[in-house]
Symmetry: C2
Subunit: 105 residues, 2 copies
DNA sequence: AAATTATGCAACCTTAAGGTTGCAAATATA
DNA sequence: TATATTTGCAACCTTAAGGTTGCATAATTT
């Protein structure tokens, strides 16, 4: 039942949470106010994000501020990286194609 | 029931398929041979990837070669971009912290 | 000390995800 | 033409995802 980052970012609400707290750390209650669902539903999403370490808690009295964990997000970037070369190639091929069409004129 | 790219890559099998065909276009049968599941199960994954346009079909007789669609994959890059600045900041803060520790010695 | 507030956990419900098997349609081969 | 091959679609099953409500716990405020 351990979630990975790919599952975590699959949900639009969780992506919204990440976008929010990347800007500034927030408590679960503060986050819940931003969404049209129950606090507990948001709390579940927080749990998933926390389990895969995309966010990190910072206790402050009875409040918990969740921070964005950029380091973990970078793992996603690393995954995308393996395809980056491919699209550069495909775009170069497109350039060549366009160049050929141009030459034929 | 329209899938988005984030849902699409949430499944490890689908990520494996993408990694495979980024290297070279393959038919569903050829893909299915690489996985320990039924052809139909793989076919379902192909359907999801196709629906969100991460892959593109090329008919050749009765065979269909699915190609990697680099352009769509780039949408991930766009999404991660909003966090890239954040982790640069967080890493700079880490550098400062380490520098401070060093100074105290 | 009592009441309020912030959070997390558990039970429950509904729907979708991911797998299976069987069958139909279209193309290729004997 | 008959047969084999490639693929997609539909029905079904099991489990997990995402939501709800209610309650327990710990910290703050009155």
């Amino acid at each position: 039942m351990k979630h990975d980052i790919f599952q975590a970012i699959a949900d639009p609400t969780r992506r919204a949470i990440l976008a929010l707290i990347a800007f500034q750390a927030l408590t679960p209650n503060a986050m819940a106010e931003k969404f049209d669902m129950s606090r507990q539903a948001v709390s579940k999403h927080i749990k998933v994000l926390h389990q895969c370490e995309l966010i990190k808690p910072e206790q402050s009295g009875r409040e918990i501020y969740y921070h964005f964990n950029a380091k973990k997000m970078q793992e996603f970037d690393d995954w995308v990286a393996q395809f980056r070369q491919k699209w550069e190639i495909q775009f170069n091929q497109l350039d060549e194609l366009l160049a050929n069409i141009k030459d034929k004129k």
